[in-house]
């Protein structure tokens, strides 16, 4: 890793680390990669709940009528019969 000049190093606040031994630099890189992986995992978990399954599955909906593609639940007691108030 090329040595960075004093102005950059001083702005980053990593002067000491960057000027450290290769072993320390490796540790810093590994810590950075681990942190990135942890952040990515957290992002995935936070955004993979029921409301974000994508367009292939219907949004869960409190309304009894939002069951477009689901198979009928055999255990349920009621099922819906439509009508127009006309003979």
């Amino acid at each position: 890793m090329p040595e960075l000049g004093p102005p950059f190093a001083s702005r980053c606040g990593l002067a000491g680390a960057l000027r450290s031994s290769p072993r320390m630099k490796l540790k810093i890189v590994l810590i950075g990669v681990a942190a990135f992986a942890l952040l990515a995992y957290a992002h995935f978990k936070l955004n993979s709940g029921p409301s974000s399954r994508g367009s292939l599955e219907p949004e869960p909906n409190a309304s009894a009528s939002a069951q477009a593609d689901r198979q009928p639940d055999k255990a349920r007691e009621a099922f819906r019969v439509g009508f127009l108030p006309v003979t």
Binding site: P72, A78, F79, F83, L84
Partner: protein, 298 residues
């Protein structure tokens, strides 16, 4: 059977204001079954939607209504006029075409306009249309309000007229036939109950008008009572087995009018396995249930 029933499955009634919305709900399986105009059900089956007509809900119950002061006395008098129909996929539409042919009139001799049934009485009152043909109680609405009169009852033009049938998703027929049977049995039992005392004051019909008007139709019970009793055969609830011969006639007319492109065999859109033995089904008793009576008294 509804949530108010003492026994049986809970069937949740879902009211619609027009047939296109109902059709989409059935296609999307937002409802499992519905009462639907028969040619539309045939059209759905022809288009590959897995549905079958399993029973009827009633017989007759439609009329052609015109303005109370209008000069129309015969069907031919409607030439050049505007008449509303509930849908091009309705038997009311087929009947109009049948009558045009029978009277030697051109297919476009009368301007037919599609309109949601609840809007028809108002359109007649506003003189936006000259008449409308639809199921009750929309014909009685114009009569009772004094601006309409019945020119023809369907029963007089097409005996045993069929308007709506019970249409069920094939998945439900396959997976839960016992539910379909329960529903059909309930409809048959209700029909027997309604017809039971028709020659003895028709008290059951009056009771039904009260409950249905307040809890399901959101319509004036007095209007429904008018429909169910004036005359007593304005609507009938017997003979609800889908009739092959009549359905073949409806199919022929629908194909002739290009409402349906390809003729279908009866078995392709109708399943009569659920037609009950009327002597064996459980009869309606204690109508209405106490909690329903309490609600309908409010």
């Amino acid at each position: 059977m509804t949530k108010h029933s003492e026994v049986g499955t809970v069937f949740q009634a879902e009211r619609f204001g027009d047939f296109p919305t109902m059709k989409e709900a059935l296609i999307a399986r937002k409802i499992d079954a519905t009462f639907m105009i028969v040619p539309l059900a045939m059209k759905l089956a022809a288009d590959g939607v897995p549905v079958k007509i399993v029973y009827l809900g009633h017989r007759d119950g439609s009329a052609l209504t015109v303005g109370i002061d209008s000069p129309f006395q015969e069907f031919k008098d409607l030439a050049g006029k505007r008449v509303a129909i509930p849908s091009r996929f309705s038997n009311q539409h087929l009947l109009m075409q049948r009558m045009l042919k029978k009277n030697g009139m051109a297919k476009d001799a009368i301007t037919l306009v599609e309109m949601a049934p609840p809007e028809m009485p108002g359109a007649l009152a506003a003189k936006a249309i000259d008449g409308y043909i639809v199921g009750e109680p929309h014909c009685a609405t114009a009569e009772r309000k004094g601006y309409g009169r019945v020119l023809f009852y369907m029963k007089d033009l097409w005996p045993d007229f069929i308007s709506c049938g019970l249409v069920v998703r094939q998945e439900l027929i396959n997976d839960r036939p016992e539910l379909v049977q329960e529903l059909v049995d309930g409809i048959a039992a209700s029909g027997l109950w309604l017809e039971e005392d028709v020659d003895d004051g028709a008290g059951h019909r009056k009771q039904a008008a009260e409950v249905v008007g307040k809890l399901f139709y959101n319509q004036d019970p007095a209007l429904l009572e008018w429909v169910l009793t004036r005359p007593l055969d304005r609507v009938r609830y017997d003979d609800l087995l889908p009739p092959r011969e009549k359905f073949d006639e409806i199919m022929d007319l629908a194909v002739e009018m290009s409402v349906i492109q390809k003729r279908m065999a009866f078995e392709e859109y109708c399943d009569t396995q659920f037609a009950p033995d009327l002597g064996a089904i459980r009869r309606v008793e204690n109508f209405p249930p106490p909690d329903v009576a309490a609600k309908s008294d409010r």
